[in-house]
């Protein structure tokens, strides 16, 4: 049985994959009781810039309800972004940290 899961979001908010990943992460954390990490890399980092409407609201809820959100520093820098551009509650991590998250979780799914 799974106890922990990473949901890695690689797509910007205009791609359905981004909201599908966020919805899956939130529902698994709140209904499934799994220790759930949302991890944003590559274009996925744009989801953390305060997207209006349902997407931004669900991300906020995920964080408020105990979900962990990490973002890859390299992906931010490649897009000219810093932590100051992101919503509150996001941890900026490096590549080694992402690899550790993958090793530590029972499952890693990508969106």
């Amino acid at each position: 049985m799974l106890h922990s899961m990473n949901v890695v979001v690689r797509k910007a908010p205009g791609d359905e994959a981004a909201i599908l990943g966020l919805r899956a992460a939130w529902s698994v954390m709140s209904n499934g009781g799994l220790d759930t990490q949302l991890v944003y890399i590559n274009d996925g980092v744009f989801n953390l810039r305060g997207v209006p409407g349902y997407i931004g609201g669900l991300l906020e809820r995920f964080i408020e309800e105990g979900g962990t959100v990490s973002v890859l520093r390299d992906s931010l820098e490649q897009r000219g972004l810093t932590q100051d551009d992101l919503v509150d509650g996001v941890t900026v991590v490096d590549q080694d940290d992402i690899a550790d998250l993958v090793q530590d979780a029972d499952a890693t799914v990508t969106f």
Binding site: M1, L2, M5, E16, A17, L20, R23, A24, S27, V28, N31, G32, L34, D106, A107, V109, T110, F111
Partner: protein
């Protein structure tokens, strides 16, 4: 001891090889005596619907029709369920595609990410996502 694999599929029919890969892999997993759950998410939710018969004009060449038929997975999906696999759609992604009202293939479950997907996870040993 048998294991259960859950696959989240996000690609639909014809757009690429993902759906066929998922179903072929599901058959192979079931043949070993292991379990399979497939959650049809995003575009994959289209796969759960029964094809709607059409008797009107459809000028498709035999060669093209044969090519397109190779992407049709209805029989394979019903076969996976008949062999013990569980397949559910995400009704929310169906809603956004206007297909909530279509009949399902034999054995496909109405589902949602909040309950059905989590229920699948309760018995899952290995979780894979297949999509783009």
């Amino acid at each position: 001891m048998s294991k259960t694999v859950t696959m989240i599929l996000r690609s639909g029919s014809t757009e690429n090889d993902d759906a066929n890969f998922c179903m072929e892999l599901a058959e192979a997993i079931l043949s070993r005596g292991d379990g399979v759950n497939i959650f049809l998410y995003g575009n994959a939710c289209n796969l759960g619907s029964k094809p709607v018969p059409y008797d009107g004009r459809s000028p498709i060449s035999d060669a093209l029709r044969e090519h397109m038929d190779s992407f049709m997975l209805s029989e394979k999906i019903e076969g996976i369920i008949a062999k013990g696999g569980k397949i559910a759609t995400c009704h929310t992604t169906e809603y956004s595609r206007g297909i909530e009202g279509l009949d399902y293939l034999e054995g496909v479950e109405w589902g949602d990410v909040g309950n059905t997907f989590n229920r699948y996870l309760l018995s899952t040993d290995l979780l894979i996502s297949i999509g783009r």
